[in-house]
């Protein structure tokens, strides 16, 4: 039932065909019934007229026979009556005609009465209402009757009643039965033919509808299919244009739309490609002079012991700022690569423990014990792009070192069935809840009154988030003003796998109980 309802909703062809079929059934049955009624009425009336005429003639001839009989002798009369009954029945052999003779109730008290039927027809076959009608009128009366015979045979027919006077006995009711068997046979034949014709018509209509809707719907289906393919990005799809019909016009309009869509998209793509090429070219062009500046700055910096303090400090600043400029350039380039969706993962199997150890050693070479590592004793393997993961770690650890306000930084590594997680926690300035949505935005600064951390590009966290997302991992942040921050990185162990629940909490334990 639901399947049918679904098809009804989903398929236009199905809906049209069903509707037309239902309507056709109604119309055909109405027409059929009317035709049948008309025909059966006509046939019945025809039969009735001949029956009445026939009955009247029969009655008259019987009356004549009786009138001519020498009625003083009862046996003679009885013989005539018997003749009448049997002759009618003989006559009736082909036409299904039977007669019945009954005395009026008054007549029944006479000395001689006659009563009888032909062919053992039961007297019960005479409708009760008709009898009083016959007795009351001298004209022929008729009714439908069911003819019941002594041998159990039943037939439906018309009965016409007349008065008959038998000399020396009195008034009688004389009934002539006409079988309608022939007529009903005819009608049955008509019904059968009507039904066959109706079914043939229905079949024809169904076929016609199916073919027509197919002719209309199949281009529509084709259009729908091609529209879907267009929507899914295959911009080269076009509809086939045949002839000059409405469907062809639809196809033409559709194709025009696809072409203009394609043009728009490629125009936009071109624009954004140009834009990204420009950013990338600018970055690359800047690199050559930057290299010269950097080397020059280093040469100057190496000689600074011979400079006076102001010059020496200037040299230091020059070196530091050149480095910062370089980092900014590298980050910008990386961002433009993400924007162009040109970032590609170079997947290797790496040990996160090893990477964390190496990165923190690199960032905290003095080993002043301010970075605490909580690493599992065994290696933690993950399929990832080592360069990107190292960059995420470097950004998170640098960020923590910059904001720790002298406190320790804790790095924890853990794994679950599907995930590898790294959390970087500091106990420094933290951040407020309202800052949280902006944390990973490019060039965003938590506190405008706070000076920017030296060397930071403002792109570190944004790039880290992009890197994590590229791995189908997550990077989340928790923070509380004055209580520090916690950054949690989750990566799937295998490329393309879905992430499971994080093996490490985002919110530090000491805060989960109070909240």
């Amino acid at each position: 039932m639901r399947a049918i309802a679904l098809r009804w909703r989903r398929s236009l062809a199905w809906r049209v065909t069903t509707t037309i079929l239902v309507l056709s059934v109604i119309v055909i049955s109405l027409v059929g019934t009317t035709i049948y009624n008309q025909l059966s009425q006509g046939i019945f009336n025809e039969k009735l007229n001949t029956s009445i005429y026939d009955a009247t003639t029969t009655t008259r001839s019987a009356q004549l026979q009786l009138a001519l009989a020498p009625y003083e002798r009862q046996t003679t009369v009885a013989k005539i009556v018997g003749d009448i009954l049997s002759t009618t029945s003989v006559e009736s052999a082909g036409t299904g005609r039977d007669v019945a003779l009954l005395p009026f109730p008054v007549t029944a008290r006479q000395k001689f009465t006659f009563k009888g039927t032909s062919n053992q027809l039961s007297l019960n076959s005479i409708p009760i209402g008709l009898r009083s009608g016959v007795r009351a009128h001298s004209t022929p009366q008729w009714d439908r009757a069911t003819m019941v015979y002594a041998d159990g045979k039943i037939d439906s027919g018309i009965v016409v009643g007349n008065q008959l006077i038998i000399p020396n006995s009195g008034r009688y009711e004389f009934y002539v039965f006409f079988s309608l068997k022939q007529q009903s046979d005819t009608l049955n034949l008509i019904i059968r033919n009507l039904v066959i014709a109706g079914l043939a018509l229905l079949l024809f209509i169904a076929l016609l509808t199916f073919l027509l809707t197919r002719q209309v719907i199949s281009p529509l289906r084709e259009a729908a299919r091609i529209a879907e393919q267009l929507a899914s990005g295959d911009l080269e799809q076009r509809m086939e244009v045949r002839g000059d019909s409405e469907i062809a016009r639809l196809a033409l309009a559709f194709n025009d739309m696809a072409v203009s869509l394609n043009q728009q998209i490629s125009r936009l793509e071109n624009l954004s490609r140009l834009q990204q090429r420009f950013v990338s070219d600018v970055s690359h062009e800047l690199r050559t002079p930057l290299t010269t500046i950097r080397m020059a700055a280093q040469v100057i910096d190496e000689a600074k012991s011979t400079f006076d303090p102001v010059l020496a400090r200037s040299a230091e600043l020059l070196v530091a700022q050149t480095e910062r400029f370089e980092n900014l350039l590298a980050d910008l380039l990386e961002v433009s690569r993400f924007d162009a969706q040109a970032a590609i993962l170079d997947i290797q199997r790496i040990d996160i423990n090893e990477l964390v150890r190496r990165t923190s050693d690199y960032l905290d070479p003095h080993d002043d014990r301010s970075i605490h590592l909580h690493l599992p004793l065994h290696s933690v393997w993950v399929e990832a792009d080592a360069r990107r993961i190292e960059r995420i770690l470097r950004n998170l650890i640098t960020n923590a070192i910059d904001h720790r306000e002298g406190g320790p930084v804790e790095i924890t590594v853990a794994e679950s069935e599907h995930n590898v997680a790294v959390s970087v926690r500091d106990y420094g300035v933290g951040f407020s809840q309202k800052d949280r949505p902006f944390l990973f935005e490019r060039f965003w600064r938590a506190d405008p009154s706070r000076s920017r951390i030296r060397g930071g590009t403002g792109l570190g966290l944004a790039i880290s988030l992009e890197d994590a997302t590229l791995h189908q991992g997550t990077l989340e942040a928790w923070g509380m003003p004055g209580k520090g921050a916690n950054f949690l990185l989750n990566l799937p162990k295998r490329v393309g796998d879905a992430l499971g629940a994080s093996p490490l909490p985002l919110v530090p334990e000491e805060f989960t109980t109070t909240e």
């Binding site: 290299t291 950097r294 080397m295 280093q298 040469v299 190292e390």
Partner: protein, 228 residues
């Protein structure tokens, strides 16, 4: 004193490179036009070429290939795009190492020194499979026939052959052969291992002398080494 030929169209960078390299004790020959390189190279016979691959009018990669055809001299590429196909193509053609702009002077000097380092003659008759390594002659001999290798390829092979029981990670090779301290660009190793294999392996598709240890790195193979 080693002579370094600097090929760079940017005159300021060329001059700066000259200052830094002379400061580090090298002789420097600066060429600022790509079309002059081959001629000057033949004349001055440098010990190393520092080649900017982004030269106007001349394809740095092609230049690299031309030089490689007539010499096994170390070639270090300078590039502004560290992550492009250019780098890989350059390495495949025969460059030994590359530096991404902006690089710093110390790193540049350190890398060049590694490339110019004289391999100290040690164990004579080092073998790897059916190859004999003659460190003094800087050549590889198979069945009496010498196989020409670049200096870097030679260093790479010696590093592996010296310690045949050890599996070298790519990072370890980067540090020992290229002199990198912090590097995750293992493509450098992969490309050169492929180049080396194409020269010394009988069937480079099924290497027997330099064996890949999946997930770890490479080790020396061959008949002379006990398989673990």
């Amino acid at each position: 004193m080693s002579l370094i030929m600097v090929v760079d169209d940017d005159q300021d960078l060329g001059e700066m490179l000259g200052i830094v390299l002379r400061g580090a004790g090298f002789d420097v020959d600066i060429v600022d036009r790509g079309d002059l390189v081959i001629e000057r190279f033949r004349k001055s016979k440098p010990d190393l070429i520092l080649l900017d691959v982004m030269l106007p009018g001349v394809d740095g990669i092609e230049l690299c290939q031309q030089i490689r055809q007539e010499s096994q001299i170390p070639i270090v590429m300078l590039t502004a795009k560290g992550d492009t196909e250019d780098v890989i193509r350059g390495l495949e053609i025969g460059a030994d190492d590359y530096l991404v702009k902006p690089f710093n002077s110390q790193e540049l000097v350190a890398r060049l020194k590694v490339r110019l380092r004289r391999t100290t003659p040690s164990a004579v008759g080092l073998r790897i499979g059916d190859l004999v390594i003659d460190e003094n002659a800087h050549s590889i001999i198979r069945a009496g026939k010498s196989i020409p290798l670049t200096k870097l390829e030679f260093d790479l092979l010696v590093a592996l052959a010296k310690d045949p029981s050890r599996v070298f990670t790519r990072e370890a090779l980067l540090s020992e052969v290229w002199g990198y301290r912090h590097a995750t660009d293992t493509r450098l190793v992969n490309v050169h291992i492929q180049r080396l294999r194409s020269k010394i392996e009988i069937d480079p598709e099924n290497p027997e002398l330099i064996i890949t240890v999946r997930g770890v790195g490479y080790r020396a193979g061959g008949a002379g080494v006990s398989e673990k």
